[in-house]
């Protein structure tokens, strides 16, 4: 191949890979062209690395390793099988969502949302005495209210003392 008129062809994005490799092979062996390339575009000299090819024996060993692993690996599920599974999942999700949307909601009666006082208790208090005979009140005398906190069918009754402790 004679020296190309225009070394800018190397930067040409329209070159096929074969054309480019032919041009690079010439540049590599031509002092004039390689010097010209280096002087106009020093970094362009690295484009010659396109001529580097991996050794065939390494590629053969690579193929052997891959063949061995693929032989042991399962055949991947085809896209159509996956699409069917996905479609079935979407359909089931849609059916469940429709059920949740259309079933009647349980709304507690308004009266049950306001707690009512069922009773008021007089607390006697619970005393305790130690070995020396002095008395201590475990719980103080006072009053407590019995309140109905039921909601719907769930019955809840709680006793609160004056401090609103249970």
């Amino acid at each position: 191949m004679i020296c190309p008129d225009d070394m800018n062809r190397l930067a040409d994005e329209g070159l096929s890979r074969r054309e480019r490799l032919e041009l690079l092979d010439h540049v590599r062996g031509c002092r004039r062209c390689s010097a010209l390339l280096a002087s106009t575009d020093p970094v362009g000299i690295f484009s010659l690395l396109a001529l580097e090819t991996p050794p065939v024996d390494e590629l053969e060993r690579l193929s052997a390793r891959i063949d061995s692993e693929v032989a042991a690996a399962p055949v991947p599920a085809r896209a159509t099988t996956r699409w069917v599974s996905m479609a079935a999942s979407v359909l089931l999700a849609g059916i469940f969502a429709t059920y949740l949307w259309t079933r009647p909601a349980v709304i507690p009666e308004a009266a049950n949302l306001r707690p009512s006082v069922l009773d008021t208790l007089d607390l006697q208090g619970i005393p305790t005495a130690d070995a020396a005979g002095s008395v201590e009140w475990v719980t103080s005398p006072g009053t407590a209210q019995v309140m109905d906190l039921s909601v719907g069918e769930m019955q809840v009754v709680m006793i609160f003392d004056e401090a609103m402790d249970i």
């Binding site: 004039r32 010097a35 020093p42 000299i45 396109a50 580097e52 590629l59 690996a73 055949v75 991947p76």
Partner: protein, 197 residues
């Protein structure tokens, strides 16, 4: 050798023999790209093995309206960058020789006729170790593989302007490295003839 599209179809359907043939056709491309990005042949072979296994598992869902090579490049580039980030630039940081004259090819009268690709490769690996992975990738795909900017952008999944920016940075850093560390990498020519002798 079966037409590539047919091979892809058969391999996607689980035909191991077709897949093996597809590997033989594409292995050089994958190893080449992985070697230039990782800078290490052993790592590149590991990357290539991973790429093809991933291909085996994912070929069934590959949209055949897209270009297969673009997809293969993208998977390779991503795997090579991951390897580079995980293992670091192994084997790429090499000290400069003590004798600066060793960097030069020699006087015009004694210089080899052909550029030494091994020397060039060593220089590139050393200088490219200073590039960010994406700068290195853009340079490898555009300047070494010779892909056009649009294709590089598709492979890297970035805008063309981003590719151009990566290239600009890569070229600037490599040029500075060449001038500083490898002033004699390429012989100068005095009075060389048109036919290169």
């Amino acid at each position: 050798m079966q037409e590539e599209g047919k091979l892809i179809g058969l391999a996607a359907a689980g035909d191991r023999a077709a897949f093996s043939e597809l590997v033989r056709i594409k292995r050089e491309l994958v190893v080449r790209i992985a070697t230039q990005i990782t800078g290490n042949r052993e790592d590149a072979l590991d990357v290539a093995q991973g790429v093809f296994l991933k291909l085996w598992k994912g070929l069934a869902k590959f949209d055949r309206k897209r270009r297969f090579d673009t997809w293969l490049y993208r998977v390779t580039v991503n795997a090579a960058i991951d390897s580079l980030r995980t293992k670091g630039p192994r084997g790429m940081i090499q000290p400069l020789p003590d004798d600066p004259a060793a960097l030069e090819i020699g006087e015009p009268a004694q210089a080899q006729r052909q550029l030494d690709l091994d020397e060039l490769q060593r220089a590139f690996r050393r200088l490219a170790a200073g590039l960010a992975p994406k700068q290195r990738t853009a340079f490898v795909l555009r300047e070494i593989e010779g892909l056009d900017t649009a294709e590089v952008a598709r492979i890297m999944n970035v805008a063309e302007s981003t590719v151009r920016n990566h290239l600009l940075q890569a070229r600037r850093l490599l040029r500075a490295g060449l001038e500083r560390d490898y002033p004699g990498l390429v012989p100068t020519v005095r009075g060389a003839r048109e036919d290169g002798s």
